[in-house]
């Protein structure tokens, strides 16, 4: 592992390509960019490469609960580590100035500035919020959180575990938990019928490999004896000091840990903060940056690749990362257009293949309106500032036309998470109240610092600027 502390002042300060995120897209882009002869900086908040899907793969690779899922990631990580790439783990990008290519980074209490001709945002996905009544109770977590705990520390929830919601991750996590010695109960919220959705959405033949893998996960969990409750509605977490049960229409499941999941959405915090153009994706029900086939954004120096661009999983992210790196090679004059297009063919084909099943998955696991815009007045939407659905509807009714106005009315989006978690729900509730499409109410415009930094970090940045040659 690359744990040798590098003094910020000793590191190079100018790069051809800066990549934000060391997941599949970021790692693949870094490898391809090096092959094109670019100098590459990779900045990642986590301690090791892998992103979320291959999180801590070098530690988790030998864990029987995870080994088979981590194997492809280990190969990618090994190739990434073998190359001459300036890789900074445990480092936070807190400001990006696209016009000058200046990145402000914080690492272990120090801050520094570097510049890059081009920046690739490979910031991945985050789980869609699941704002049901009681979701702030201790013991209620996102499903991804439990998976991260398993990957990074090999730990599992003790006592009764209930998984509630829907999506491919639920079945994967269920299998991983079972392999790790935990038998959860799955309360599925899926409302779309499988067969009809498949016939309407298509892609089940070209995406057969992925489909077979998914069906395999479902069968294995059922064969292991996991109890599955389907078609659950009106979920609520109950308990006094911590969660004690999941209640839903027609049933109740006692639990010590409740893991919620309703799919993932692109992490657009930085792409929105720097003002890239975004569009509403009506199929995936999320905002995403407007990009060309190579991931180039509305800003001449910025590209986006991977699940931060469109939700499609790690194989598509690898291909998209490669395409963005090739495009960087062309734009910085290291390869010709013909060379870029020739080298892009394999990645473009891989991308197409990886996308085959996506329309089916998107349709099958479309979240219901009660998840997008919680109907109950008292349900908390903004966890930081504890803003409820009821107060948001009030704000929307008296003139808050979008999330940026609601933020001024109620502080939702003004807490430490800066609206990362509540942003999509706030927009959906306002849209529903105003009876207009979500596109019309818009999205939050985050501002730097993208994550809180200390005064000490800010002060160290100033010193470094002064001491520049």
């Amino acid at each position: 592992m690359n744990l040798v502390p590098v003094k910020a002042a000793e590191a190079p300060r100018k790069f051809d390509l800066a990549i934000i995120g060391a997941g599949p897209a970021g790692m693949a882009a870094a490898i391809t960019a090096r092959e094109c002869g670019l100098s590459v900086l990779v900045v990642d908040e986590n301690a090791a490469p892998g992103g979320q899907v291959f999180r801590a793969a070098e530690l988790a690779g030998a864990d029987p609960a995870l080994a088979r899922d981590m194997a492809p990631g280990l190969e990618l990580i090994a190739r990434f580590r073998a190359l001459d790439i300036t890789y900074r783990p445990g480092t936070t990008l807190w400001m990006l100035e696209p016009d000058t290519g200046t990145l402000s980074l914080a690492r272990q209490g120090e801050s520094m500035e570097v510049t890059a001709e081009r920046t690739l945002l490979a910031t991945g996905a985050q789980e869609r919020p699941v704002p049901i009544p009681g979701w702030t109770l201790p013991g209620v977590m996102s499903a991804g959180a439990a998976q991260i705990a398993l990957k990074t520390a090999g730990m599992v929830p003790s006592g009764k575990v209930v998984l509630a919601g829907q999506g491919p991750l639920m079945w994967l996590l269920a299998n991983q938990l079972i392999r790790a010695g935990v038998m959860p109960v799955l309360v599925e919220t899926r409302t779309q019928p499988i067969l009809r959705t498949a016939l309407e959405a298509g892609g089940i033949f070209s995406g057969f490999g992925q489909l077979a893998k998914g069906i395999g996960l479902i069968l294995k969990a059922r064969q292991a004896g996991m109890r599955v409750i389907t078609g659950a509605k009106h979920l609520r977490a109950e308990g006094s000091a911590r969660v004690q049960a999941l209640r839903f229409e027609g049933g109740v499941e006692p639990c010590d840990t409740l893991l919620l999941h309703e799919g993932v959405i692109p992490s657009t915090h930085i792409s929105m903060a720097i003002g890239l153009e975004h569009g509403w994706d009506a199929r995936q029900l999320c905002w995403r940056p407007k990009l060309d086939a190579f991931g180039a954004s509305s800003h001449a120096r910025i590209a986006v690749a991977g699940d931060g661009a469109v939700i499609c999983g790690w194989e598509a992210a690898v291909a998209a990362g490669q395409l963005a790196a090739l495009d960087a090679g062309l734009r910085l004059g290291r390869i010709s257009r013909a060379d870029r297009d020739f080298r892009a063919e394999a990645s473009a084909a891989a991308l197409l293949q990886a996308r085959a099943l996506r329309p089916f998955l998107d349709a099958l696991y479309a979240p219901s309106q009660e998840i997008l815009a919680p109907p109950e007045e008292s349900t908390i939407i903004c966890r930081c500032e504890e803003v409820t659905a009821g107060s948001l509807r009030w704000a929307a009714a008296i003139g808050a036309t979008g999330p940026n106005q609601a933020k001024a009315y109620l502080r939702c989006g003004m807490g430490p998470c800066q609206g990362r978690l509540c942003g999509s729900t706030v927009a959906a509730v306002i849209a529903e109240t105003r009876n207009v499409p979500v596109e019309e109410v818009g999205h939050l415009r985050p501002r730097a610092p993208y994550k809180p930094i200390t005064v000490q970090e800010l002060a160290s940045a100033q010193q470094r600027v002064d001491s520049l040659p």
Binding site: D63, Q126, T136, A145, T257
Partner: protein
Amino acid sequence: MFRTRPDHRPETVQVFVEGRALMVPEGSSAAAAILISGLSSIRETPVSGSPRLPWCMMGVCFDCLAEIDGVANRQACMVPVVAGMRIARQHGAREVQR
């Protein structure tokens, strides 16, 4: 509450959660250490004082804000444990150090 699987993750690091010594697997975050410790909450919110434990474990939600080695408002899920780390609950909004 979470439990570890020492058969598969034998390497451990000693940390202190609310002053109590605890062995946690190498690679854990400070937030993971709190979950292993069985503490009923990692913080109380500044608005209503309601107890919270981590929600996302990946740096999105900021529900795991804690005091780590004397520095408040750290995202505990983004801080890997090191030997001797002191992790403490955060009550309400953090205070400026006096």
